[in-house]
């Protein structure tokens, strides 16, 4: 497509077993990349997970707000 610009690609991983389901990352991710998994982890929390259908901009806000250092953001 004509509009395409070369942009970095980012990947987000939520280490779900460490997530306490506070959902701060979901609240603050402007790209909607993080969503409620609706699944309980071993600790019994509804952990967050990356959405399939959204793109991460690498803004790092999720890692900034996560109180439990759960999220990893990767670039190429």
């Amino acid at each position: 497509m004509a509009k395409t610009v070369t942009r970095k690609k980012y990947d987000v991983i939520v280490k779900s077993e460490f997530c306490k389901g506070c959902h701060l990352c979901i609240e603050y991710c402007k790209s909607g990349k993080l969503v409620n998994s609706k699944k309980l982890n071993k600790m019994g929390y509804l952990y967050a997970e990356p959405a399939e259908d959204a793109k991460c901009t690498g803004c790092m806000v999720c890692t900034l707000v996560c109180p439990d250092l759960v999220i990893e953001v990767y670039d190429e």
Binding site: Y10, D11, F18, K20, G21, C22, H23, L24, E27, Y28, M43, Y45, G58, M60, V61, T63, L64, V65, C66, P67, D68, L69, I71, E72, V73, Y74, D75, E76
Partner: protein, 250 residues
């Protein structure tokens, strides 16, 4: 693929904290660990942790730690720093710890201008013991010991202890920040950096008051609690630099 957010050197890996979901202590911990690394003082740092929800902070910080009796953090920090001025010494304390039982120690360590740094987590409540009124509890706020809301005629108004110590000549840097939003968190990190630098530069006492949510005892969900910091707490406790005497002292 490269990991963009690297794990802070002075934060223990793969430990699940005991903090409640969304607790501000977690964010504050990470910030402190990051600043210790960026300023390269973690190797010679000693943190005095409080009695309060952060009593177990030694499970997370990967630096030397000393537990304190409730409220005596700055007295202990004084003892360490006086004995070993070469070490980097900071206390990490809650509002009950620092501004109730520890009032005298807070005031006098600050007034002596001890060369220590203080991280002060103000969550307007006694977290650890289950949500009793703190000196910083807002007017009208319901807690287990102010069940009909804090009544200033009976319990007084919220105590602004950081403003108090900011007025002392020996207090070089005092700032009030909040970990309520991404911007707030960034500012908090800057404030902690400024504060820690004062000690590294040997110019005196510094304190950062961090407004921090306690969703559990506020009986709110996480998102509400962060909003409450922004909307209610900052009204009573306006953010900003309360004193900055760094230029004068250098």
């Amino acid at each position: 693929m490269n990991l963009k957010n690297k794990w802070p050197k002075y934060y223990k890996k793969d430990v699940v904290t005991h903090y409640c979901p969304g607790c501000g202590h977690g964010i504050a911990h990470r910030i402190v660990a990051e600043v210790l690394e960026e300023l390269d003082v973690g190797d010679r740092a000693i943190c005095v942790n409080p009695a309060g929800c952060a009593v177990l902070a030694y499970r997370y910080f990967d630096i030397d730690m000393l537990e304190s009796a409730h409220g005596r953090g700055t007295a202990m920090a004084t003892g360490i720093k006086r004995a070993r001025p070469d070490l980097f010494v900071f206390s990490y304390q809650g509002d009950g710890d620092l501004s109730a039982i520890g009032t005298a120690e807070t005031i006098h360590s600050a007034n002596r201008g001890e060369h220590i740094s203080v991280i002060f987590i103000n969550n307007a409540v006694y977290g650890m013991t289950g949500g009793q009124m703190a000196p910083t509890t807002l007017v009208g706020q319901k807690t287990t010991t102010s069940p009909s809301g804090r009544n200033p005629d009976y319990e007084g108004y919220p105590l602004h202890i950081t403003d108090v110590v900011a007025s002392f000549p020996g207090v070089v840097y005092a700032e009030r920040v909040a970990v309520d939003t991404p911007a707030g968190i960034r500012k908090t990190k800057k404030a902690v950096t400024n504060a820690f630098r004062c000690q590294i530069d040997g110019i005196g006492y510094s304190i950062v008051e961090i407004l921090s949510p306690c969703p559990t005892n506020w009986k709110m969900n996480t998102i509400e609690s962060y909003k409450w910091v922004t909307e209610e707490m900052t009204k009573e406790f306006p953010l900003g630099v309360l004193t900055d005497k760094r230029e004068k002292k250098k």
